[in-house]
């Protein structure tokens, strides 16, 4: 059975269809890129998977995550799923982090909860050690200093590393990354993509990577689904879809991405 299985998902807002009959599946350890432009429904799909849809959006169809039906599940069930099965890294780390809480405490919170859920609560020293290990794992320089820092004292890339550390603290089976590098500089983006690549591989997590940026998706995902105005217009292995797109919309995206790519000339 797949880790995540989305079948015939439709999302409606006041009768308006935002996502239409979307189906996708993700096996443990697999990496799927969800590509779309603004308004394609890609972020809403991620919200639906985590059971975080705004109340006025009506989902229908089925989302099974780790054997549990998400649609219609009570909040307590969803909370447990979000703490153990799935974690999300959002686009803007400055809004994802609490500005008034030191980084160490923010990372400690999901760690402590996961440990409680597993039935072996951690002592203060154990939590501290685990937080340090996580900060080290996401390659933050000088973890001891970062522990006591507030988000505004960190750079954008460092903040995103903290957000990733918080997601890892849940030890999720599925990591959803929603445009995690879009707000970052290109050199920082390269570092964060390399980090995600390593972490997902080392920990055997599945990755749902949401982005509008084709070359970024090509860097990190194996399979891809192309969304347009809430409908999946094409899917397949990244290389095949990006080198031989079948749908006109995908063809347009691929040719635009190639135009920017070839403006940069041959690879140095």
């Amino acid at each position: 059975m797949s880790l995540l299985s989305v079948d015939d998902l439709t999302l409606k807002l006041d009768g308006k269809v935002l996502v239409s009959n979307l189906s996708l599946a993700l096996e443990a350890g697999a990496r799927l890129g969800l590509i779309g432009e603004s308004g394609s429904g890609k972020s809403l799909t991620a919200m639906a998977v985590t059971g975080l849809l705004p109340g006025n959006i009506r989902p229908s169809g089925s989302i099974v995550l780790g054997g549990q039906q998400v649609i219609g599940a009570p909040e307590s069930t969803l909370n447990r799923l979000r703490g153990t099965r799935v974690a999300v890294v959002f686009q803007e780390p400055l809004t994802a982090l609490d500005p008034l809480m030191r980084v160490g405490r923010q990372v400690a919170e999901p760690l402590r909860r996961r440990a409680l859920r597993d039935g072996n609560p951690l002592s203060g020293t154990q939590v501290q050690a685990a937080v340090l290990a996580l900060l080290h794992d996401v390659a933050l320089p000088d973890p001891e200093r970062i522990l006591g820092a507030y988000p505004h004292e960190l750079s954008g890339g460092q903040r995103q590393r903290v957000a990733i550390a918080m997601a890892l603290a849940c030890r999720p089976d599925l990591l959803i990354a929603d445009e995690p590098t879009t707000a970052l500089d290109v050199t920082t983006q390269a570092d964060i993509l390399a980090l995600l690549d390593r972490l997902v591989r080392d920990r055997g997590m599945a990755l749902l990577f949401i982005s509008h940026d084709l070359p970024v998706v090509a860097r990190i995902a194996q399979e891809v689904v192309v969304l347009r105005q809430g409908e999946a217009v094409e899917r397949g292995p990244v290389h095949a879809v990006f080198t031989h797109p079948a749908h006109d919309y995908t063809k347009g995206l691929v040719s635009a991405a190639h135009a920017f790519d070839s403006a940069l000339g041959g690879r140095p």
């Binding site: 500089d185 050199t187 390269a190 993509l193 070359p215 090509a218 991405a257 190639h258 041959g266």
Partner: protein, 249 residues
Amino acid sequence: MSVMVEAKRLGFAYPGGKTVLEDVSLTITAGQSLGIVGESGSGKTTLLRLLLGLIRPSQGEIRFKGERLEPRDGGFMRRYRAQVQVVFQDPYSSLDPRQKISAIVSEPLRSLAIAGDHGQMVTTALASVGLQTDIGNRYPHEFSGGQRQRIAIARAIVARPDLLLADEAVSALDLSTRIRIVELFKSLSQEMTLAFVSHDLGAVAAVCSQIVILEKGRIVEAGATGDILARPSHPYTQRLLASVPRMPR
């Protein structure tokens, strides 16, 4: 080719604070399209604000067609505004939602007291950015992001400026829209001088024949776009170029 803009050893520091721009010299010749590339903290926005005369340099000077850019000289700035226009990043915040398109696009003509048939000039500007010319009575919310950016560009070119500044003008747009606006800038660069400021090396390379690379307030490399992309000499440029994810072949 005549020199349009010459920046000589520009420096900018906040009072009692840190230096954001240091020893920046560059020349924009008439008809050229210059890309100014930098990441966050590189000083590219400060450089653009200096070029717009919104702030004064702590060191050095900018000359426009030989004349010193002096933000405190009202007479100079009025003439300068008529010749230099800007397109900003976000077309959702740069257009007044309560004004009709005709009023938005003709605004420079009114504020610069430019003589002539304003209606005709607006029509010409709208046509040259690829918009229908009968949209004057509509409002910004009726248009998509790409169309709004075209409206912002129409406003910038309606007074036929000599120099067009673009501040991350394609960064907020979706890929399929971005490529079209890049093509529009490219065709506009045939008719006017362009300074295109962006963190997006691909977009800059697609539009500009010359580039300068800024890092931490300094120019680390400058030259013809093709040369720099093929043989980046500074380690930062090399890292920047290597960091751009590429399409599979």
